[in-house]
């Protein structure tokens, strides 16, 4: 098994390269559609024009779409028996190599000394989430999430008397609107929201972030959440914050929500904000073959 994982070095390096430079198509398609809604000649339309050019230039020239190549998170689903330690070792090698070839910025900083590490490794970096499943495939979903959008994420504990948010879906909606309003353009709007309802503090954030791994075009299997996503998408865009916070029609490109059970005393709502440069791709390893999606 460990030999098979060593073979993942090249595919993982390619996964990092692609994720940093080649934005998923569903996002540029949403941006192209959103550009049409902005007033001709407006600052908002101009932002879209530059962003769409940037996407094409990065794809063609293979330079990082955004200089903040972010926190590097691997979400791995694997069959029974795969060594997680062996996977970490090979993924860390790929991260260091991608940094050396400038597909990733040296982005790992010692939180106490302030010293920058030149290979993107270090305590807690990169981040790994492992989940065993019954299938034979290894599915590696990589997320590169920059600091500007990570910093505007928010968590609420309901009830929140100040917001008038009670422990129900109406309260959750109030929290989401608050988070988007507080973020303004600072998360590099137009953004994509991942929302976690329930869980404990950590589980709620984790759930929120996992929603960001979904395609913008999917439909939530849960009817209540599907309606919630549609409503929040529409309402948040009515705030008029617009691209980069310059004012305009498009504040968000998508809203995705998930739910977990909670204990009676807690009701957490977490909002993970992804910037427009939402860099995530999957590597699927099946019967010795690899494919990047």
């Amino acid at each position: 098994m460990s030999d098979a994982l060593t073979d993942l070095y090249e595919p993982l390096l390619e996964l990092i390269r692609r994720t940093s430079t080649d934005l998923p198509r569903d996002i540029d398609e949403a941006m192209t559609a959103a550009r049409e809604k902005e007033e001709p000649g407006s600052a908002g339309e101009n932002v879209f024009n530059i962003l769409l050019q940037n996407i094409e230039m990065s794809r063609a020239g293979t330079s990082p779409l955004c200089q903040d190549t972010g926190m590097i998170s691997f979400y791995v689903h694997h069959p029974c028996g795969m060594s997680q330690l062996a996977f970490k070792r090979v993924a860390e090698r790929a991260v260091a190599a991608a940094t050396a070839e400038n597909r990733l910025r040296p982005n790992s900083v010692d939180s106490l000394s302030g010293e920058s590490v030149d290979n993107n490794l270090g305590a807690g970096m990169p981040v790994f989430h492992f989940e065993e499943w019954e299938m034979d495939e290894i599915d590696v979903h990589l997320l590169l999430k920059g600091g500007g959008c990570e910093n505007v994420g928010a968590q609420f504990a309901l009830p929140d008397v100040g917001l008038g948010a009670d422990r129900d879906l109406a309260g959750v909606k109030r929290c989401v609107l608050e988070a988007v309003h507080l973020a303004q353009g600072r998360g590099c709007a137009p953004g994509i929201l991942g929302i976690g309802i329930g869980g404990d503090r950590m589980g709620s954030y984790e759930l929120a972030k996992e929603q960001l791994l979904r395609s913008l075009t999917d439909t939530n299997q849960d009817r209540v959440l599907a309606d919630f996503e549609d409503e929040m998408f529409e309402r948040c865009n009515e705030l008029g914050i617009g691209p980069m916070g310059f004012g305009g029609k498009t504040t968000l490109l998508g809203v995705k929500a998930g739910v977990r059970n909670r204990i009676p005393a807690s009701y957490f709502v977490s909002v993970a904000y992804a910037c427009w440069a939402h860099r995530h791709r999957r590597l699927v390893v099946s019967k010795g073959k690899t494919e990047i999606i």
């Binding site: 955004c66 910025r105 310059f246």
Partner: protein, 216 residues
């Protein structure tokens, strides 16, 4: 589009208004979190600069007098022969420097700060008092903007790390928008107020309690 050549004089900078699109050319210094901390600790708060920092101070003063700070932590290609290229170089979030930017503007005679997301009341007040503007570059447009970095002349404190070092760069036709001017105007304040009013409307139409400013 207004073409601005660095160094920029006070009269020119005071003629700029929120909403103006500018194309910037000339010598710029990148500085973000660690650099701002350094600039303030070494050259504002210290009674006199540390001897080891005198040469750096001269280089920084030369670049920032009537000059421009860029909130940016680039991806760079450092070639073996010492040549350096910017690969990806969009703006980083500026609000983190709110606590010290006013002092940096005053101390060094900065005429423009490029970043993203806007800044707060202290900086806005410094822009007015000393004659400077805040220029909003397009966040995340890093490959696009790196092409407007014509040359990298040098670096101050490379030991801060690639993202935090102060890179001495030469811009050519770098596009941004004035979102805070020297007359107290701030697009960020305008959009925040307008979106707060929209939020009240949205809450009302959803049958939710209105925003209660007393409790927030």
């Amino acid at each position: 589009m207004i073409n601005l050549q660095i160094p920029i004089d006070e009269k020119t900078v005071r003629s700029l208004r929120v909403g103006d699109q500018v194309s910037l050319s000339g010598a710029v210094l990148t500085a973000r979190d660690r650099a701002h901390k350094y600039l303030v600790e070494e050259f504002v708060e210290a009674l006199q600069p540390n001897d080891d920092e005198r040469e750096n101070l001269l280089r920084i003063e030369q670049r920032l007098q009537d000059g421009v700070i860029y909130h940016c932590g680039p991806v760079v290609n450092e070639h073996d022969d010492g040549r350096v290229e910017f690969v990806s170089a969009g703006p980083t979030t500026s609000i983190r420097e709110e606590g010290v930017e006013a002092e940096v503007i005053e101390r060094f005679g900065v005429r423009a700060v490029i970043g993203k997301g806007g800044m707060g009341a202290r900086t806005l007040s410094a822009l007015k008092e000393y004659g400077a503007v805040y220029l909003h570059a397009i966040g995340g447009a890093a490959t696009f903007l790196a092409r407007n970095v014509e040359r990298v002349d040098g670096v101050v404190h490379r030991d801060f790390g690639v993202a935090e070092a102060m890179w001495e760069i030469e811009l050519k036709n770098f596009v941004s928008v004035v979102t805070m001017d020297s007359h107290g105007g701030s697009l960020h304040d305008e959009v925040r107020e307008a979106s707060a009013s929209s939020l009240s409307g949205v809450l009302a139409s959803m049958g939710q309690a209105p925003v209660d400013k007393q409790q927030r």
